[in-house]
Symmetry: C2
Subunit: 432 residues, 2 copies
């Protein structure tokens, strides 16, 4: 039977992994899709270079047109990264009726809807399982689940670097800066860690998950994003004392038809399944009206896990080719954007304050909360740290973001308040 | 377009849930499979009874032949339970070229391979996602993963009743008997809880998972099964003190081509993802050579979760019907049974002993381990409980089951040994 021809854009660790898997599992793949799969061309930056995989030099090219314009190539696997230029290339490949498998989260977060629309219009598949949590079949699970359920909440630990850093800070009581250096030395964090530690990488993945889960086009700018750079050992210490674990959490929540998407350091009860996702692992927690709580846990990155889910996508494409139903699974968002206003976003909050150690101060502070009808779940009044200063740690009951932000402003105006040391969202109470 | 006709065997809570979902999600299902899905006949025990769903009386029947022998019915959904009789009915339905979706773990654990072989021979689908961990798409995930990976280990919390009981015992320090009564009052445990608390239910599910994951026919008799009825508060207390959480764990492990499948109360480090699966929730931890560690968490039972995964299976069947590829996914085990011998099964063990409080006893005991080359990871020598008795809690390094069982025998022969209070397997050390 005619072999399926693959064009591979990029031959880094992931690209090499894809080639290894296709070679090592040729029989299994045959058995699954009923025809051989062959890598016809691979785009590289320079020829004659040392490679992680043995590969026939004649397969390599530095000219992308030999792939996207070759009528003999059926599927383009994109693992080279980049956004603007890559978007153009993939749109052109789709014009040329090529199916796409991509691991490119930046691209999918920004141009996903456009690419999906183009794919569907051209009867092409566009699969992107590897763009979120490499080793976790979360995209497929959402697509399957959506058939007979309505997803109302997605919470994700979708960045391995920050989860590794927070895990070490929590377990070893180390400072952010020290753990970051260690993570960089170990290769868990990049020389320029900004997009990880500032939460941007997680925000991109949440855009992809929310867009799919709610079938609503969400833009990166819609995601309220806070990174972990200001998290201190004290915060983690008090959080632990109150029964919470801190995670950089992506939250996508739908009430009725209105949604909220955000990324921020968030406190979860120790007993919450997301709380025991440690080190560089990822996990996505899904709440569906019918099925209730589910969670998918696995490696978020790594060349083999990522390559594995790329090959799973490839198998999906090839099956669809043989059944001539390509394009049906490339579904662009069906709902108009409909974001919650701050007064519609409810959660609990952890707040740590330094106040003047004077009579009546505590009453003064709590009255600000009372004025907004916000009460407390936990209060920790701590011994004076420095002369004349008391530390107060509070966990509120659910409050609207609007009320909470007004409370913070009003607290800052109080003479008795020295400093708002930290403030975090608290999630994971019963009923998700 | 021609509607797909369903015959439903059983109208209990799950059956009613299936009907609700098919009604409430008709449009979504249409969109997915491209044709309407209609429930043509429902087998019930008696007519004219109060139902959980509004359903046209004319759809109900007490004669199973109106379903399995009706040429107009395409898919049979079996949610009535039972084994021998149900096997016959489904084999007959398969003979009649009907596709099967079943939630019946007892049936699949015992006759799964036979039914899958029959289905594949008749070009029929046989899907059974709901037979293991109702709300978790574990079967589908294994099938997908198998395409490009080799699964070497499966560990599952696959029985909600026992997980609820162990969770309560651990969190509230209660005795097994008291928690069981509470669970029965709450409906989490049945009046006759034997098949749950003795581990049989979990063993059946592990047979299904191991058979699929290793593509090897495993029989129920091959599963070394121990329940939770002898677990004491003291055991949980000491386990906690040593950093472990106890779960009734199904373990399926493959080294090379030889496998081991067992179910027993097992200690896991608090930090292991399975350790924070609480109450009635289920989770399956999968280790694949390529992807590494993944875990799938969700409700193990409940009518809606179970009904939801039945409908997902139904969608798969209908898609295959439209693409005329039914039967390809019904794959009977491909490897001959090849079980590990006791000397090939390695793990750590937790052991609690009561010994005579005399000089030299400790040396006497440790020498038994030394003789078998088994050393200790943790030792807890505790203050005398009753006059002349000392308590020793040990955690060994990895030992073969053969060595460990010999050690237990030799310990029992020691005059210094009063009693082996408890012994548990310890799992979840680094590297799965």
């Amino acid at each position: 039977m005619k072999a399926i021809s693959i064009g591979l854009l990029g031959l880094g660790t992931v690209g090499s992994g894809v080639i290894k898997i296709i070679e090592n599992h040729q029989d299994k793949l045959m058995h699954q899709v009923g025809c051989p799969i062959q890598v016809k061309k691979v785009l590289v930056q320079e020829l004659g270079k040392e490679r992680a995989v043995k590969i026939d030099e004649s397969v390599l090219t530095t000219d992308v047109n030999e792939i996207i314009n070759d009528p003999g190539i059926d599927v383009v696997i994109e693992v080279m990264g980049g956004v603007e230029k890559t978007r153009e290339l993939l749109l052109q490949a789709i014009e040329n009726k090529k199916h796409i498998v991509t691991a490119n989260k930046d691209l999918m977060a920004i141009y996903g809807s456009e690419l999906l629309r183009a794919a569907s219009a051209n009867g092409c598949d566009l699969f992107y399982e590897a763009s979120v949590a490499g080793g976790i079949p979360i995209i497929r699970s959402l697509v399957d689940g959506l058939a007979s359920d309505r997803i109302t909440k997605l919470m994700g630990i979708v960045n391995g670097t920050t989860n590794y850093i927070l895990t070490k800070m929590t377990q070893e009581g180390l400072a952010y800066g020290d753990v970051l250096k260690e993570a960089q030395a170990l290769g868990y964090a990049e020389a320029n860690p900004a997009s990880d530690v500032e939460g941007l990488d997680a925000a991109r993945k949440m855009v992809i998950l929310a867009t799919l889960g709610f079938s609503m086009k969400v833009d990166l700018d819609d995601v309220k994003t806070t990174g972990i750079t200001k998290v201190t050992e004290e915060d983690l210490h008090y959080a632990k004392q109150l029964g919470y674990t801190m995670k950089l959490l992506g939250i996508a929540h739908r009430d009725g038809e209105r949604v909220e998407v955000s990324v921020q350091p968030t406190l979860l009860p120790h007993s919450h399944p997301l709380a025991s996702v440690h080190n560089e692992y990822n996990a996505v927690y899904v709440y569906g009206e019918a099925v209730g709580e589910t969670m998918f846990y696995g490696p978020g990155a790594g060349s083999l896990p990522t390559a594995t889910s790329i090959v799973s996508d490839l198998v999906g494409v090839v099956k669809n080719m043989r059944l001539e139903v390509n394009g049906s699974s490339a579904i662009a968002p069906q709902h108009e954007k409909n974001l919650k206003a701050p007064e519609e976003i409810f959660s609990k909050y952890f707040l740590r304050l330094h106040v003047k150690d004077e009579v009546g101060v505590f009453a003064e502070i709590t009255s600000v909360f009372a004025k907004h009808g916000v009460s407390f779940e936990k209060i920790l009044q701590l011994p004076v740290k420095e002369k004349g200063v008391a530390e107060i740690v509070l966990v509120t009951h659910k409050a609207s973001l609007k009320d909470y932000e007004e409370i913070l402003m009003e607290l800052r105006d109080l003479k008795a308040l020295k400093e708002v040391k930290s403030s975090y969202r608290v999630e994971g109470s019963a009923g998700a």
